[in-house]
Symmetry: D2
């Protein structure tokens, strides 16, 4: 039951790489929310294939059709469903993969899980193509969050061992290659091109920050912001690691170094560092929520690879055909933003239930 | 709604550090499962406070009382509830913290979230003490998994910059300091002692492996094994990072290096490396499921720290009283095992729903 | 969050009466299940409008398009999504209803709930048209249950005060007017026609039986078969009552009369009556699961009715235009079967999780 | 997974009739809500056994101990857990029932479901005793609703064929025998006594009304108020039927009779009848929410009954020992109120998520 996410909103993602359509249903968005479809399309275009030299040449216009929940530019309160037709499918490219799984892919695990009835074409439901409906849902949540003064920014933090420089403070979404330091970006692109020419692929990391958050989003224990973001971010194919704030590097610090001191700024409580990534006890503390995601190198490469035939149980050499990205990291950037937006919006709705007349008590910033 | 976990089992954790009791309810365990309470107690003792020189001197015997679901050593099919009484509470130690939050702790976020009605004593529901009921649930799941031939092992992988050596292949659970290489363990302990003497704290990482898994556990998208494990592991206080298999280091590899080649071994399909950590497309591939967790340095330190009074909005210097661990990592080890066991057992039950007479098709290893 | 149902399957229903399409997503159906689309269409046709003289003349062919989860006649394990395009929409008929709600309808409650942003055309998401995707999901579950030897039968038990005669023992699904006693059916049809001519409407009851159930489906407390069936059956528009077995009439009996005695038949345990409707403690006892549903008279009638303008707060006389059924009961029959099938199939999957090697114990008699 | 209820709050009920304790966890109640434990105890006493001549002589003081989530008379935002110790248990009374199930009880279905590992003593988790924690949760929700101006009243509507007279307009909770017309109450009590003397039992109906509701609670489809109330009310043992407003009797009316006309009263929209029981399209319309519940005669009677030995597969005569109510209806009254309060409070929290700055539009009563 993997394709359902959320506590206060319920997101369902459906479709396969080569099924008639892919899509999403988002239930729980209040009625009367305006959604700008042009802005949404701009966001989707950042993820769409065929946009730049590093992505698969598969062409899909990826224009969602809203078939439920959307009238005259506004939500009407009932489930919001959008579908995207799959057009440029070449299932023939994948026929070999039914029996000889691609290393690093879900071909083998899907075949066993689904007893041979899996949709192997193009990776089926496991395909990166399914991040398109994720971005539809996320693009909507981004618009809803912006009305609350919450913004999500992100960047490619590294490709292979080439790291971006400088802090992530402003959006990189207008850039064709979303980094803070364009010189670093040039080096990353050179690395991707070099790798592509060898028929190989390369991974990287994406950093994301959520700005303008109120204090108090998230819940203790399994409902912390880390848990909520993790549950959705690991749903993006190829993500194998996640850390918040200082993350793994915090283990090299002493408590006295890692703790972010509080201070009062005109009555408002802030921290003078942000090693905790804006989350304490699972709950937002009003500072930027920051996390970093590890994206493994695209498993689909054109070099011959060692595999095995799962029906005959014999070894086999596989050369993957089809069209693939030498580096999925640039296209993962909007997906990470989408995932963050969905998780944060879900937590924001949950927070509304808590604020009662009864709890007259303590409030943020006074 | 953070204290509820699971899809096929439902785990609820309740209680606060200084409430009358803490406990857990686990629904969905089939009837007739034998649970050895002695084995469970041994597991709980690995986490219990006061056991060694690095942990808080707070003494709790941590013996769970089963008040529901358990008869004559077996589950009876209905919700399994166990409670642990809190005995050695010294709430007075915490009175200052109501207004002046400890840096790195949930004191501030809890105060705002709960409008001043939070239980601040001992960290309330955010306390590491709440990992005791997590370990009750996890210790039960470990026993249930062992009947299916699935074992969970783990170790301290690093303390500060001191790393354990050698691969994690056998259990370290019998050791007082759970590392593979005891010489490394000595260095880690020296570092902890040295840090303790300075009134400071230190973090580290825990590595965990799940052995003997069938192929096919987990679901695509948000129900992947990564997502499931992440959602529970980030519920352990102080966890700020998580990676599967090669994780962040995979971003430094090429696809041709990172992909784990398949081979057939007497008809069984295996991989010749395990960079993917036993998970492809969110689904177990039959190889060991491996992950690593970053545990930040304990935020409670005895050094004076900069904080602020959240009622007056003025700065304040805080010296934390109370009893605290200079390094939480050793006690986090069984918690990580518990979390993994709960996530895996939940996925295992989910897998049972899929195996039908209808799906005559392909099976693992034949 | 009303449009999501299920514990082991997750059913989402989306769309409005006059939106571009309506549809459903069903997650959790195992891979490799064959679905006969012809059989499914026959089932859908029983609910479709325009089939007989009592139903709305709105014409919709109601052929679902499977856009996810379905390949070569089999499920492939991922979310199963089907959509049905809305074609014969006449939104103009409904413009008056935006401000003057139809008595007995959701027009008013929807307007307030959704703050004026509701889709009022044709009842929006509240329309009986949304039972089409319910029947898609139910028709699929019926096929899956039949493979397990479980069959669902039903009938019109009454229209107004005209009751069907004889016990419900065989399917009435082949009949144009699904009753056991056709003479009673003639009287019912006469009553409907007579009511229709007056511009009025009439209600009735539907009885449903699930045959061939194993012992042990359902859970105690809120997961009983009654609870599960109730949660879905009250989702069919116009349903205002539900009873299991003897239901309300059992309150007129003594315990000695109402208790169904057990007896052993060649080792198999059965009951000699079925006042409990096949459910004891929420759990199936192996006898037919029987329930009865009250369907109120269709609220849309062509007689002028007293209403009020919700914007001006003044009284108004409403004459409902549009096309409506004088009696919704015949079309509710397949909907009730669909609802029962979904609830039972969900419980059946849940039962699979319980049957373990460990629970060697007692089994249902074989 | 039956013992978990709710969407915006999560209620878990645990324990068995003769386990060390029974209890409940309620997650999702905002922090800072005052709970008057004296008022709660008064409510619990209405349900407690041993209070009058019709109920089982089993004596339990039924005083809940709050072990989590409750400090200084207020909720603190984390899971609220209360336990009640079982004291007056006489498990020996039930030993025969392990193999020879009581007709009308869950003994047989529980035995098969749990493979012989069920807790048969006193009905285990299926016991009416488990309504005590339900009433703890419900009693809390009643207090929370009252702060919002929402009140729940109910009465015994019938015992056997003796009906209460007059409309349910004020609370009957102060009465020892909760009916509107005390003369009818006398006849009901005479019938119960007469039945008790014969060693038999009798059923009845309970009517419940929720007053002071805002418009807009509940959701379409499976989240309607009918669905929500049904899912919890059928969790009360012995409930076999449920109807809202006119319910089954509405099927005897024409649409023109059954539709409740709207009218405007000083700008406020109301209905001039309430056949719909205050619910249209699953959503509250601001009129009283009214429903009626059928409670079957207590299955435990002292008359000898026909049963069967489920291990030997032979017939057997059973004479039930133990202590039982000749009529459970009076004690069901507070349970029905509790169930209604939990369902309504859950829906009320859900409604908070919908009311946004964005939805500037239409509001109730202006």
């Amino acid at each position: 039951m993997g394709s359902l996410y959320g506590e206060n909103i319920k997101l369902t993602i459906f479709g396969q790489s080569h099924s008639p359509a892919i899509g999403m249903t988002l239930e729980g968005i209040p009625a009367g929310e305006e959604i700008n479809t042009g802005t949404l399309q701009n966001f989707l275009n950042r993820r769409a294939p065929g946009n730049n030299e590093f992505s698969t040449p598969r062409k899909e216009d990826d224009v969602p059709e809203f078939i439920s929940g959307f009238i005259d530019g506004h939500t009407c309160g009932v489930p919001l469903t959008a579908i995207i037709r799959n057009r440029d499918t070449r299932s023939g490219d994948y026929s070999e993969l039914k029996n000889v799984p691609r290393p690093g892919h879900a071909d083998y695990t899907g075949a066993i899980k689904y007893g041979g009835y899996q949709d192997y074409a193009g990776g089926g439901h496991f395909s990166g193509r399914l991040t398109a409906p994720l971005c539809v849902a996320g693009g909507i949540c981004i618009q809803l969050l912006e009305k609350e003064g919450i913004r999500i920014i992100s960047r490619i933090a590294s490709i292979g061992s080439v790291e971006d420089k400088g802090p992530l403070e402003v959006s990189t979404s207008e850039k064709a290659f979303p980094v803070v330091d364009d010189e670093c970006g040039q080096k990353m692109q050179a690395l991707i091109n070099e790798t592509k020419e060898k028929g190989d692929s390369v991974g990287g990391t994406v950093q994301c920050a959520v700005l303008g958050l109120p204090v108090g989003l998230g819940d203790p224990m399994f409902g912390g912001m880390e848990n909520r973001i993790a549950q959705i971010v690991f749903g993006i194919p190829a993500v194998k690691g996640l850390e918040f704030g200082k993350g793994f590097a915090s283990t090299l610090l002493k408590g006295s170094e890692n703790n972010d001191p509080f201070f009062a700024d005109g009555g408002r409580i802030m921290t003078s560092g942000n090693n905790c990534g804006g989350i304490l006890g699972g709950i937002t503390n009003g500072m930027p929520l920051i996390f970093r995601v590890a994206v493994k190198p695209t498993p689909s490469i054109s070099l011959p690879q060692q595999s095995a035939d799962i029906r005959t149980g014999t070894s086999a050499i596989l050369t993957v055909k089809g069209r693939h990205d030498p580096c999925i990291v640039p296209r993962a950037v909007p997906c990470v933003e989408a995932a963050a937006a969905i998780a944060v919006y879900d937590a924001l709705l949950g927070r509304r239930k808590e604020i009662t007349n009864g709890s007259a008590g303590l409030q943020e910033n006074n």
